[in-house]
């Protein structure tokens, strides 16, 4: 598969502040690629460099194999859906969508045909005459995307386009965007700070922090095999322990945590005895009252409260040493007897722990 976009060693400095720090990645044709990171980590800056609104301090950008350095935004085969959409309030929906076509000198009837098809595609047939301020948040969203897609860009860049929407609509738009992308097959580069958006929609996700890419991978890889502590913490929830390695065997290490537990876990990274590590454990990796305890790390915790959230319910528990743990509570009615204050036993499989050497 060929790459629609490839970015090499991109750096962007504002005075002496480095907003984007040596970023390299490839986006295969037709894929949905997300860049996930906390606010202020440099996502918008990176995207604006790809779109051509910002000059990289160093590095290279290629779109469909063509070098893009020095090419102004309007001559790049990419279009940008802005963080706050930037729909033109002085024009109606149709004029907004037709704007780019008109600039290309497309003839009137052809423009009409294309805008109508586009409106249909994004699920807004007959909305052409509406003013921008008459649209709902989700509709504006789709007009902003339609306005770019009608120009058939090689790559569509989207900067947190769901940020302004309320939760319910966001959930809905997530699925619609994914469907839209699959249908039209344009390469999407999507920026977000919401991990669930990134995980649900993307083929590949890059996790960004402080201007650097921490890891690029499929959503499953990021969740199951985070490569850095930041990814482990940022993507999905995690419980954390600190401790020292007491014994390291091939493929497995034994950790003595600071609060006195001894856990067995898989250890890919070669860790010498005595080295400090952080251990991460997903809430759903912890089993409540396991019937078979063989091979598991088992211990007792006290239930502090039940965080009921439908299928996503959890228990907030603490160990004897007041170490807080979040434990997934499957809604199978099997655990309905658990009340706050109960002491229950929990266990987890050494395979599900993730260990990183602690930084000094």
């Amino acid at each position: 598969m060929s790459n629609d976009l490839s970015v090499r060693n991109m750096v962007k400095k504002f005075d002496d502040f480095t907003a984007v720090d040596n970023v390299t990645f490839d986006v295969p044709k037709g894929s949905f690629f997300s860049i996930l990171g906390p606010s202020g980590c440099g996502k918008t800056t990176l995207l604006r460099m790809i779109a051509g609104f910002e000059e990289p301090t160093s590095g290279a950008i290629e779109i469909r194999g063509k070098d893009m350095l020095g090419v102004p935004p309007n001559h790049r085969p990419v279009n940008l859906v802005f963080q706050h959409l930037a729909l033109f309030p002085m024009m109606n929906v149709e004029e907004n969508i037709a704007f780019g076509l008109k600039r290309r000198g497309v003839k009137g009837p052809e423009i009409r045909k294309q805008t109508d098809t586009m409106l249909e595609r994004v699920g807004l047939p007959g909305f052409g005459g509406k003013q921008i301020n008459q649209l709902s948040g989700g509709q504006k969203q789709r007009v902003a995307i339609a306005r770019c897609l009608v120009l058939e860009p090689s790559v569509l860049l989207l900067d947190e386009p769901l940020g302004a929407l309320d939760l319910k609509l966001r959930e809905q738009m997530k699925i619609e965007l994914k469907k839209l992308q699959t249908k039209i097959g344009t390469t999407f580069i999507y920026i977000t700070h919401d991990q669930s958006e990134a995980l649900v929609m993307s083929d590949h996700v890059a996790v960004m922090n402080n201007g650097q890419f921490e890891q690029i991978g499929t959503p499953q890889e990021l969740y199951g095999k985070p490569k850095t502590p930041f990814v482990a913490q940022f993507v999905g929830d995690n419980n954390q322990w600190s401790g020292n390695v007491t014994q390291s065997n091939p493929g497995e290490i034994i950790i003595a945590t600071d609060d006195g537990y001894s856990f067995r876990t898989k250890g890919d990274a070669p860790c010498a005895d005595g080295c400090r590590v952080n251990l991460y454990l997903r809430p759903e990796a912890i089993r409540i009252e396991p019937r078979q305890t063989e091979g598991l790390n088992v211990f007792d915790v006290q239930v502090k409260s039940i965080l009921f959230d439908g299928a996503n319910s959890r228990l907030l528990t603490t160990t004897k040493e007041e170490h807080e743990l979040i434990v997934t509570l499957p809604q199978t009615r099997k655990f309905d007897h658990i009340k706050p204050g109960d002491t229950i036993s929990v266990g987890w499989h050494p395979e599900s722990g993730i260990c990183f050497e602690a930084e000094a």
Binding site: P73, A86, P89, M90
Partner: protein, 284 residues
Amino acid sequence: MNRSRLAFWIFFAPVIMWLVLLIVLPHLDLLTMSFRGENDYGDPIWTFENYTNFFTEPVYWLTFVRTALYAIITTFITFLLAMPVSFFIAKLARTRAQGALMILLLLPFWVSELVRIYGWMILLRESGVLNFFMLKLGIIDTPIEMLYNDATMIMGLVYTSMLFMVVPLVSVMDSLDDSLIEAAHDLGAGHLTIWRTIIIPHCKPGITSGSIVVFMLALGNYLTPNLMGGKNSLWFTEQIYNQFIASFNWNQGSAFGFLLLLLSSLIIWVGLKLTRQKLGEVAS
């Protein structure tokens, strides 16, 4: 509303006195005076004579038309000049320089109009600074009089009312989201198209309020045409002044005054109607 009546009257009394005694009554007086005159025996009578004079005497109505036309030209030139200046300050200047530029822009306008015009006079007149340098540099052999012509007068009017165009324009341009321009550019629009389809439509409210104020100021200006304009190029306010102070014909002067008031109100009304705005919105 449950406010005390006392508070209401404390606010109401001075305001109504101000508006009635100093705004309403004087202008009613202006209107009545413009319909008063004397018959052949010197007795005061009601008459349309002051207005018929205006229409029959070409000097009067020509001055009137000229003043209106020149005020429109002034407004237009001011707009053309103010547009790029405000664009520069709002969209091109470095963010840190914006405040300083704005202050620099405002400063000359706090100084009395008279001082500014005086400055132009000593720059432009026959023995003025500009002539001095041009002679020194050998561009000209004999000094030329650059004052006392219509072009200079219009330049003076543009200069004195510039600020009232730039300030509203800067503030509307500031409110224009940069990403709209970027989006238009990204979608393939060139400079001219961006100006035509994005910037100007967005700035319309600022353009209206700026134009109204500038037009008003140019129309009602006395100093600039008087000091910079040519001897035979009268401004309508000068006509009014002449009637009042020189010929002491207050009735005629009132009629002129009323006509000027009518013209300025009319143009403002048309301007507001065209852009569908209210006076209150423009003022604030």
